[in-house]
Amino acid sequence: MTASSPANARAASIGNSDSTRQLVLGLLFGVAFGFLLQKGGVAKYHILIGALLLEDFTVMKVMLTAIIVGSVGIFALHALGGVELHLKPTRYASNVVGGLLFGIGFGLLGYCPGTGAAALGQGNWDAIGGVAGLMVGSYLYAEMSGTLDRTINKWGDRGKLTLPDIVGMKRSTFLLIWLPLLTMVLYAMDRFTVR
């Protein structure tokens, strides 16, 4: 992407994330997201624990469908010059260690950061404890961020690495294989799970 592409120009016109317009949009998108999370049942403790136990597949069905639809939509918009991509960096050590810690916390709390906020909204007061813990844990990370940036965050840092890069394919070719594959997984999940 060059700096003068239409997507960059559009992105630049959107402006700061703390402009009044963006604050209002953030709130509206949040209301929509929270509404959907609650209707999808993923603000419920037993549905999230059921997902971690691999006994309730509601979470996986929601996520996979969102990934498939979102992937088609985002890459289509990107191809048309409507949006910039926002790829998070791949850092093998931090992704694995952080991911496993996140999972342990997920088991104990029973909600994740987004669904925890949704759980709070539907009246699960135990999520208040979770929200407090999430803030403390975030600050703890910030407290250690200098050391972590100099050590683990450097280990296996591969930058904006994508799946097609790894297999050496063009993104469009990869998507033509990948999206039907994910759809088949989703179909199998629907076929062979109770919920």
Partner: protein, 174 residues
């Protein structure tokens, strides 16, 4: 043995909800140049609290040099999630108003209700630290990152489920 399937399911089809979340990501990319994500907002709010107590110390932390503790799009998104879930639960008659989920009590007994809050706090601390280290949460990595084919996001989301699988099994199936 506690069975998660004996409790209420989702109000709407997970495929409908997933598809609408997919459309929502398109809208956030298009109108806000932002991927959907929830965890960074907790860090920003924690930073705002930190700043009110120890302003110089908080501003010197490398993480907060990159992610300014302020009310911005993501913080508003998080507040919106609470409001949206309230509206959905109220509309669908699913407001709970409970301190302890029924499945917790079924597993650990009524005497363990206080432990639920302790587990939530400790779990929250570990989860947020993990999210910052991994670079995102179930939304930021699990949906926004994976849909853009990010390798790190796919690794992170598998690790979320591995860590969660082991912990949930130790708690509910051991």
């Amino acid at each position: 043995m506690t069975d998660p399937l004996m409790y209420s399911g989702p109000a709407w089809s997970p495929y409908l909800v997933g598809a609408l979340i997919g459309v929502l990501t398109m809208l956030t990319f298009y109108f806000s140049n932002k991927p959907l994500g929830a965890s960074t907002a907790y860090a920003r709010i924690a930073g705002m609290v930190g700043r009110s107590i120890a302003p110089k110390h908080t501003d010197k932390l490398p993480y907060y040099e990159k992610k300014t503790p302020k009310v911005e799009w993501g913080v508003m998104l998080l507040i919106g999630i609470v409001a949206g879930a309230f509206l959905a639960a109220w509309q669908g008659g699913e407001l709970t108003g409970a301190w302890v989920p029924p499945m917790w009590t079924a597993q650990f007994g009524e005497s363990a209700d206080a432990w639920r809050i302790a587990a939530a706090v400790v779990g929250g601390v570990i989860m947020a630290f993990g999210a910052r280290l991994a670079g995102g949460c179930t939304s930021g990595h699990g949906i926004s990152g994976t849909l853009q084919l990010s390798v790190g996001s796919w690794i992170a989301v598998f690790c979320f489920f591995i860590g969660g699988f082991v912990t949930a099994h130790l708690m509910f199936r051991w």
